[in-house]
């Protein structure tokens, strides 16, 4: 049942990605200051926004899980955070490339956005050892939800604290709320954001479908009394 709508969603994602990339490479003008390297902006910033939103969405699913006790929401929360952590790796890598090209260093401690994203990423990277250290399935789900909610409250607080710790001597590469972007760039940026958002949704849906399929397979095997091959994952939540 999780597979429903996966095909049109995948097609939409591919179309949006192709559209976004063609806009990035053939339509949008070169940045006057930074030239070609600035184009990584259309990948890096949407990835970061989608990853952060994904963390918050994971927290919302966790709240739903604790309120309803339905383990389905826990699986949603797990997959959301899982995908956002993967996106987070991409954010850190693309950010590093951009920083090297425009500031001359792979890592710049004076840039609050970089530092706060790293801290948030480290926080969510501990989600896995935390979750897998708890054996009892139900307790694991409950504790993981508590973690997701706590970390969700931590994200905005962290951004505030890190931003205040810097003296803001560095020029912001792009103004807040994209105030400084000319129309063509803004349009391309929005299309890229939609494309990356669709990519995240598709991957989340895909993983949920795969989980549900393997759960069904396991139940069928058990019903038919066929031994399950290998040690199946005791760690990831199951979807029924």
């Amino acid at each position: 049942m999780y597979g429903k709508g996966l095909r049109p969603l995948s097609i939409a994602t591919v179309a949006a990605l192709v559209a976004a990339l063609s806009l990035v490479f053939f339509y949008v003008p070169l940045d006057a200051d930074q030239g070609f390297i600035q184009k990584i902006f259309y990948l890096h910033v949407p990835l970061a926004i989608v990853a952060l939103v994904g963390f918050v969405v994971g927290g919302v699913f966790a709240i739903l899980h604790l309120r309803s006790g339905d383990s389905r929401w826990d699986a949603y929360s797990y997959v959301s955070i899982h995908m956002s952590v993967i996106f987070g790796v991409a954010v850190l890598i693309t950010g590093s490339i951009w920083a090297k090209a425009s500031w001359g260093h792979w890592w710049v401690w004076d840039e609050p956005t970089l530092v706060s994203f790293l801290i948030v990423f480290l926080m969510y990277a501990t989600y896995y050892p935390f979750r897998y250290a708890i054996e009892d399935r139900e307790r694991q789900a409950r504790y993981a939800s508590v973690f997701a909610i706590t970390a969700g409250a931590f994200v905005p607080l962290n951004f505030m604290a890190v931003r205040m710790a810097e003296s803001l001597v560095h020029p912001r590469t792009f103004g807040t709320a994209n105030g400084g972007l000319p129309g063509e760039m803004m349009f391309t940026f929005l299309i890229s954001l939609v494309a990356i958002g669709l990519l995240w949704t598709t991957l989340v849906k895909f993983e949920l479908t795969a989980k549900s399929a393997s759960g069904q397979l396991k139940r069928l095997r058990r019903a038919l009394d066929v031994p399950t091959p290998g040690g199946s994952s005791r760690v990831a939540p199951e979807v029924s």
Partner: protein, 226 residues
């Protein structure tokens, strides 16, 4: 006295009495902190500290010493069956959170009563910064108590136990440490305490405390269910 206050006093009293009789956490935390100061003295090769270096040494040491105590906070509950007793008793679970966080707060204050004067004797030229520093210490302790209680109660029920507490807690307290050392840095500056952005940092500390006390209050119920 309402029943929840009775429960609160009972659990807090039990914790403090147990600590006074066994002396499991506090002496270890204190000793750890003082030894760490000695290591910093040689690691940094400085005999006196000021400004950001002093703030960094103080807060890093206090944080790691606090983690020792946070790790032990729920060990007795787990090993001696305290969790089962609390689950059986018809008490509000959030009261348990409040009592445990208060116990941790008392530990941290007791730790700092010994360790911060030692820090001043070891590294500081004057003790003028200590009075305003207590405000920063208290607000940071409140935040550490809230997050520490929350994480400790989860970690103690996992198979990784004391491995998990520092792993999860360290990233979680980064904003707290940023604000605490931001407020302490001008206080510990050479040539008398300064108050650059002192109020702003205190506000951040207060906000952090408020948010995580509320989060703890909201979710602690689910940690004791079974």
């Amino acid at each position: 006295m309402t029943s929840s206050r009775l429960v609160y006093m009972a659990i807090l009293g039990k914790d403090l009495r147990a600590e006074l009789r066994t002396l499991q956490s506090l002496p270890a935390m204190t000793l750890f902190a003082i030894t760490t100061f000695v290591i910093f003295r040689f690691g940094l090769d400085r005999t006196s500290l000021s400004g950001s270096l002093a703030a960094g040494v103080l807060w890093a040491t206090l944080l790691f010493a606090a983690i020792l105590g946070i790790n032990r906070l729920f060990v007795a509950e787990r090993e001696e069956g305290g969790f089962d007793a609390i689950r059986l008793a018809p008490v509000d679970r959030t009261t348990v959170f409040a009592a445990k966080a208060s116990a941790l707060l008392v530990y941290l204050v007791a730790l700092e009563l010994v360790v911060v004067p030692v820090f001043a004797v070891f590294f500081l030229d004057s003790a003028a910064a200590l009075l305003p520093l207590t405000l920063v210490l208290l607000l940071a302790d409140l935040g550490l108590a809230a997050t520490g209680t929350l994480i400790s109660s989860m970690a103690v029920n996992s198979s990784a136990r004391d491995l998990l507490t520092p792993l999860v807690l360290l990233p979680l307290v980064v904003p707290l440490m940023i604000a605490a050392s931001g407020a302490s840095e001008p206080l510990l500056a050479l040539g008398g305490p300064g108050y650059h952005r002192f109020g702003t940092w205190l506000a951040v500390l207060g906000l952090y405390d408020l948010i995580f006390l509320l989060v703890g209050y909201a979710v602690f119920d689910f940690l004791l269910e079974d």
